[in-house]
């Protein structure tokens, strides 16, 4: 066995061991065991621990994974097996040492829950599989043997035969699809697209009435994030302006609708529709006011200024200074509900409203992207100097991008405030801006399906995973990093052909044109 194999597999094993300890320290193993026990049909009472055998199932799966990932893709079979075994051994050793420490703490009754909240005595005993010192040995043995098993599985499942089999299945499926398409009459293929659209429309029409107000709420939020994402994409993806303050524009729409429809600060009752228009206009004005002085800034400087703008708006809303005008830290409550043809809105109506707003936004976005304006924006994004030389008024188009993007943000904000019947400074924190940015990047810049998918992934999934409540944001953060490592172009990258020549060096290098400092190197 050469040194390299030992080194890499021991690193893998150590990593997995440390991750296991981390999972124990955040009590994840308890939750996982509870879920496994629920899956197996044994319910666990709230506040009590699941049986230790479910934890063993979790351990088995984890240890097999250790061996699987330790086995390298190429090389001799015996080497792969050894790698799995050795990684399992190291991981087992690490976990066993941790178990020994826990056992010692149990024996001496050392309570460190003040510092590490997860380490209560029952939880420690649970980690030792309710067997005391024997549990340490079980951990060690499990990891070592199953590491070997995992690598054996890897050897088996990655073998040539399996690959051939997979390939065969794939070709069979493709052939079947081709056959079906060929068998169908021409007209079905031609109009099938429209059929799918029709089906989608019917689903969108029926779903909100069927699945109850909770899902309407969650997916309404997803829809609003799609609109916000489209707004940000116009600034960031089309015209290449790095904007982190979209929450401020969102707040302008939300507060316009809130203040014009609430009895408390002003007692104005304008009704929803005119105030939504006011909200959009206010957001556009906000975008204009923000954009005018900072046109000369580029890149990260623009980012930090817009971030500052967002924070200024939030702090002003939160301060006592404007309490009489905006309601201060308590926000605006009891926002009057909109009516449509005399009937007040319920959650289904809101779902329809958001779907319509989303559809309108998407339509407008496509029209804009393919228009003269959209092409001007893209050319500014690629190279502002060249764009100027070809006769594009760079400042005008950049401002226009900010204003149009702001309009979308204002629209989303207005609907958001009315739907929640409340809006306050805490709805417009920096986190909102960061979330929208993440939606756009994770989904894929300049790609509407990507933005929709990103909204589902980042806003919809965490809401639906309420079961995992405590670990929601942790997993979210880890997923963001993982996503960027695996698919840096986003979930659904834009298919629009790059207008630039293929193979030109600056193709994907920069999101914005060369900027000060960078242009000098």
């Amino acid at each position: 066995m050469n040194k390299e194999i030992i080194r890499s597999s021991s690193q893998k094993g150590l990593l997995f061991g440390i991750v296991m300890i981390f999972l124990v320290l955040i009590n994840f193993h308890l939750m996982a065991s509870t879920m496994i026990s629920k899956l197996m049909g044994t319910n666990v009472l709230r506040g009590s621990l699941p049986e230790a055998r479910f934890f063993i199932i979790f351990l088995v799966l984890y240890a097999i994974w250790v061996g699987w990932s330790a086995a390298s893709r190429e090389g001799k079979t015996i080497h792969k097996l050894f790698e799995g075994l050795f990684a399992g051994l190291i991981a087992g050793l690490t976990v066993a040492l941790f178990g020994l420490l826990l056992f010692y703490m149990l024996e001496t009754q050392t309570d460190i829950r003040k510092y590490l909240t997860a380490l209560s005595f029952p939880s420690m005993r649970f980690f030792l599989l309710d067997m005391g010192e024997l549990g340490i040995l079980v951990h060690f043995g499990l990891f070592t043997l199953l590491g070997l098993l995992g690598s054996a599985l890897a050897v088996g499942l990655r073998s040539q035969k399996v690959a051939h089999f997979k390939q065969g299945v794939k070709t069979a499926i493709t052939n079947l699809r081709l056959r079906i398409t060929n068998a169908l009459p021409e007209s079905v293929n031609k109009y099938g697209k429209y059929g799918i659209y029709l089906l989608l429309l019917v689903i969108l029409f029926l779903l909100p009435t069927r699945w109850g107000s909770y899902y309407n709420f969650v997916f309404g939020m997803v829809g609003l994030y799609v609109i916000l994402g489209i707004g940000l994409n116009i600034m960031l993806g089309l015209s290449g302006q790095f904007m982190i303050g979209i929450a401020a524009l969102f707040a302008m729409g939300a507060y316009s609708v809130a203040l014009l429809n609430s009895p408390i600060p002003h007692g104005l009752m304008w009704g929803f529709w005119p105030s939504l228009a006011v909200g959009v206009v206010m957001a556009v004005i906000g975008g204009l006011l923000l954009g005018l002085p900072i046109m000369r800034l580029r890149g990260d400087y623009l980012g930090i200024v817009t971030l500052g703008f967002g924070e200024i708006i939030r702090i002003l809303l939160n301060s006592d200074l404007l309490t009489d005008i905006t309601g201060g830290p308590r926000g605006v409550q009891n926002i009057q509900q909109p009516t449509f043809l005399g009937t007040p809105f319920n959650d289904v109506m809101y779902a329809y409203l958001i779907i319509v707003a989303m559809a309108v936004s998407i339509f407008l976005y496509y029209r804009l992207e393919n228009s003269r304006t959209g092409r001007a924006w893209l050319s500014i994004k690629e190279d502002a100097l060249v764009a100027q030389a070809t006769g594009i008024d760079v400042q005008k188009y950049k401002l226009l991008a900010l204003c149009v993007g702001a309009a979308f943000a204002g629209l989303a904000g207005g609907i958001f405030a009315a739907r929640n019947q409340f809006t306050g400074p805490n709805d417009h924190t920096l986190m909102v801006s960061i979330n929208v940015l993440s939606v756009v990047i994770v989904g894929g810049l300049n790609s509407i399906p990507g933005i929709i998918l990103g909204s589902f992934a980042l806003r919809g999934l965490p809401e639906l995973l309420r079961e995992l409540e405590t670990y929601r944001l942790l997993v979210f953060g880890a997923l963001l990093v993982f996503m960027m490592l695996v698919r840096p172009d986003g979930l659904w990258p834009a298919s629009r052909p790059d207008l630039e020549e293929k193979g030109s060096p600056g193709l994907k290098e920069d999101i914005e044109p060369a900027e000060e400092g960078r242009s000098n190197d």
Binding site: I26, A118, L485
Partner: protein, 369 residues
């Protein structure tokens, strides 16, 4: 023909910012001057000791901001990325220092029969040094692994991708700390000798102004660390290599510099500085919780941009400047203390509008040419 030559095409016809910027600047500076006049000269609302007090607190907080801002600037100078998780590295340093103080507090070194005396009260100097060492080491390690896991594979990706990865890492670290150490806010255990609030008293106009020991420690140590860093970057071989990598990675690699190793070391250094800042933050403000790094992180980033990002003296200056503005600004302008961040951000925006690459931004570009 003639007229065409005389009046060149009006390219600047619609140059809005040319008109808007001076108006905007005049408005902001005018209103600031007016408020200053009103508060300082017309009303004379505050006496000297209040100003001294605010100045001291501004310098202390400015030192901490400067240390964190250097971390942002070092990383930005080399990788052109905003290390959004830098505030969380500082949080990790704060926690490391907290645990060390708790540990030294729990060791009893009293002689047999005498009342219990903890290690940290008996040897405050040693425990403070230990806390800083531990905080810096742990934070530096965290920075090293952060780079290795979340940023290194993205070296060649478009610029927004590492930023999102950094945001993800920031979420992860924050929530990991919350899950590990519970969301409660804890008191930092200072050694008795440098308990919060104790310090030297100055008598100004008959009233007492306290220079706290923690504050003095924070300020002096941050200045020392900054000088040390500056000397390191300017004089040592590592510093030279860092500057070379910052100005051109490819050429630096051709000169036999291991670019990956230098980037790793940059993260270690910036992590160590953030860790020191974290322990200072804990000692001086007395609180530690999982969210402790977020706001200082954002502020320090602002400070780094203010000074001209990528520029080390700029980050120091920006940090000090931001600290002073935050502490003196609300009083000097006669505005509620709630709005201190608004003042800081407005001044930052105004400075960036007139000097788009920060206060010392151009030094960097000249060096690079």
């Amino acid at each position: 023909m003639e007229s065409n030559l005389k009046s060149p095409p009006k390219l600047t016809r619609r140059n809005y910012s040319k008109i808007i910027r001076p108006i905007f600047g005049l408005l902001v500076f005018g209103s600031i001057l007016w408020r200053l006049y009103e508060v300082l000269i017309a009303q004379q609302a505050y006496s000297a000791e209040i100003w001294v007090r605010l100045l001291i607190s501004g310098l202390i907080i400015g030192g901490v901001y400067a240390l964190i801002a250097i971390g942002y600037t070092l990383v930005y100078g080399i990788l052109f990325m905003i290390n959004f998780a830098h505030g969380e590295i500082m949080m990790i340093g704060t926690f490391a220092g907290y645990f060390l103080f708790e540990a030294t507090k729990s060791i009893n070194v009293a002689a047999e029969g005498s009342p219990p005396l903890s290690f940290s009260d008996a040897y405050p100097l040693i425990s403070v040094i230990l806390a800083f060492l531990v905080g810096m080491t742990v934070a530096a390690t965290a920075g090293f692994f952060l780079e290795k896991i979340a940023y290194r594979p993205l070296r060649k990706a478009p610029r927004l991708v590492p930023l999102i990865s950094a945001i993800g890492a920031s979420f992860f670290l924050q929530n990991a700390a919350q899950l590990l150490f519970s969301p409660q806010v804890r008191d930092y255990t200072n050694p008795q000798a440098i308990a919060r609030g104790s310090g030297w008293s100055l008598i100004i106009n008959g009233s007492r102004v306290v220079i706290t020991y923690t504050g003095a420690l924070t300020f002096i140590l941050s200045i020392l660390l900054m000088i040390g860093l500056y000397v390191m970057v300017q004089k040592t071989k590592l510093g030279k290599a860092m500057r070379a990598v910052a100005s051109d990675k490819n050429t630096a690699a051709l000169m036999g510099i291991d670019v990956d190793a230098i980037i790793s070391r940059t993260f270690i250094i910036s992590g160590a500085l953030a860790g020191a800042a974290g322990v200072m933050w804990g000692l001086h403000n007395g609180l530690v919780h999982f969210f402790v790094g977020f706001l200082p992180g954002i502020k320090a980033f602002t400070a780094a941009v203010l000074g001209g990002i990528g520029n080390i003296p700029g980050a120091m200056l920006g940090g000090m400047f931001l600290g002073l503005i935050e502490s003196l600004g609300p009083t000097a302008l006669g505005i509620s203390y709630q709005l201190k961040d608004v003042i800081a951000f407005v001044i930052m925006i105004v400075i960036l509008i007139f000097r788009p690459s920060g206060i010392l931004g151009e030094v960097l570009s000249e060096e690079k040419v």
